[in-house]
Symmetry: C2
Subunit: 410 residues, 2 copies
Amino acid sequence: MAVLVQKFGGTSVADAQKIRRAAGRALNAAKQGFQVVVVASARGHQTDHLIADALEVNPNPPKREMDMLLSTGEQQTVSLFAMALEGMGQKAISFTGAQIQMMTDNSYTKARIQSIGVDRIFNKLNEGYIVIVAGFQGVDEQGNITTLGRGGSDTSAVALAAALKAQMCEIFTDVDGVYTSDPRKYPKAVKMDQISYDEILELASLGAGVMHSRSIEFGKKYNVIIHVRSSMNDSKGTIITHEVPQMEGILVSGATIQKDLAKIGLVDVDNKPGNAAKVFAQLAEAKIVVNDIIQTEVSADKANLSFTCAKSDLGDAKKVIEKMQSQVNCKAIFVRDDIAEVSVVGVGMRSHYGVATKLFKALADAKVNIDSITTSEIRISCIVDLKDGDKALTVVCDAFELDKPVDQRK
Amino acid sequence: MAVLVQKFGGTSVADAQKIRRAAGRALNAAKQGFQVVVVASARGHQTDHLIADALEVNPNPPKREMDMLLSTGEQQTVSLFAMALEGMGQKAISFTGAQIQMMTDNSYTKARIQSIGVDRIFNKLNEGYIVIVAGFQGVDEQGNITTLGRGGSDTSAVALAAALKAQMCEIFTDVDGVYTSDPRKYPKAVKMDQISYDEILELASLGAGVMHSRSIEFGKKYNVIIHVRSSMNDSKGTIITHEVPQMEGILVSGATIQKDLAKIGLVDVDNKPGNAAKVFAQLAEAKIVVNDIIQTEVSADKANLSFTCAKSDLGDAKKVIEKMQSQVNCKAIFVRDDIAEVSVVGVGMRSHYGVATKLFKALADAKVNIDSITTSEIRISCIVDLKDGDKALTVVCDAFELDKPVDQRK
């Protein structure tokens, strides 16, 4: 019998009625012949409430105790979920992370999964139970409760699907699937039927925010087919899977915009081996996450070096750079916090020419000036003026026909 | 170093401020040189809220899942308690029942403790930690979470004190200690300095409701000295301990009244061996708890048999009796639900005469008619008319000077 993992996020189990609806889905899957494993998050805003409770007791709570506290949210949901199924006449049993040996390292609040004990789950599945597992949580070697960080229930679900060799991992959420662009910013965006792990990883890191990146990495590594779909209806959502040949025919799968970036430029840096390394080592030490790096030679021994980071890190980043300005013999420093980054992502770029040209032409036609450009194998990003950001996203989406399903594009 | 177990009930940890106050007490004890183990209940009405959540999902929730759900209440408290201590600069670590191997049978919702793993606790105590253990919960051999039933945190605390060979088990609660009678019913009642396990067991079963009977039985069995005291002040409360010689000088330690009883009488039952057994076997089968049983011979072959039970069980009990009326050849059945039972308890009764006389005289002087009388080695109970109940309690308390500390009595 095929195993199906179903993950329900906090909004999908927020109250008794929603828990019963979610339980009904699990029951349907069982009736269709699947062995069903449910992974559930904490109800609604429970986690936020618990964090508030902790901060009231201690503004700087120890992380081990934080994990002990937060893990109760998921434990409550899974027991209620099992009760709901039992109320429908379906045998059901709930487990904490510890009970199924969801073993992690001991990095409290952001633990990494190391292994999962599947025997107990398979035993119960084979006895006809639907098994409900608390997401987001694990246990270290000493039996201390750990959590996987925000969005960690997605990771729990995909990791369980991998360990159980599930046919699929369904992620039920409050959106219909993954869209070609954020519908709040590009209202004509359409739902994608499928997308590759690599594409959604690029989109996630660019702020599309549909799923936790770590869960996608897990899925990619262990070949878990992920179906992101709505908990409110039965429509097909978006399948996240390995690249299939037809994906190559699609130039661009999705487009995103990021407005919370800032850029720092170092003008006329000595172009010596190790200088760039020095800059980014010091930024890393100050715990500043650098997004894109651009370096261009301006002469035989001088280069311009610039990078982007979160706007909230700009002040700290500037201090780091000013402190080391003389070390790298930099003539001037400039800072921009009025930028937006528009990106297009698609595995089709690997084998097709003309994506960049089409992108630049769309921006030029709309009279949007491009500050700088960075690319990866399946992504092209342009930094533009913040005031042009929304327009830029719209013309780029239009240019790549992201308002149409794949089969209706030219 | 001596170990001290401190148990805080739900009202003593209801909010952040109360948790910090309770944590302050634990810290003080640590500063006095104790190795401190805290046992905490769920905050305020958390358990009631969780029960309501469960019933909303399933009016008849499976007990295993109920325990999974309810155990989260205590887990939340202990993590918050540890955070509070850490905030005061004190090393602290919280544990679930499972983490310290609080092993129980698998009678969900009313599990019995079988053994406790003390190594992990002692390791942490020896490293200078205050250890906080979730009360009310344990784990069975298969790793399923169990709970000990309402009031089970008292049992957790006393059992831990026994396992850790603690010098004392302090039970912090919202009353100052154990009173000679319920102050709401006998306002002149005074706090007892000490009381024996046997006495408080009689008082608890008579509805004094200070502590869970099972925890007292544990204390008695394993010689745990229990100190019931207020979480709101530093006054000495009541010490519950083995009988000491000076207790024998006290005729009566406390008096109680129960008003939620009913009485059923079987008139002129055939006085044959096995008839009483038949009656009570059938009542037990109907899950009716019988309090007192009184049988009196009325002739060589006939007896009157009566018993008391909770008023809420009266309807069921009556049905059982009516069904078997002919089997025991009973002439008539009578029922009373307008009764109160007034009891006095004291180990001094064992070696002193005159307690019964004094009791009956006090009631007679107050013109209270006695319906029936039952006794144990350290208890005398009188059933009186419900309308006379409060007066009866008062005159009995006055007669035994329960409004005065022991050393001021005649």
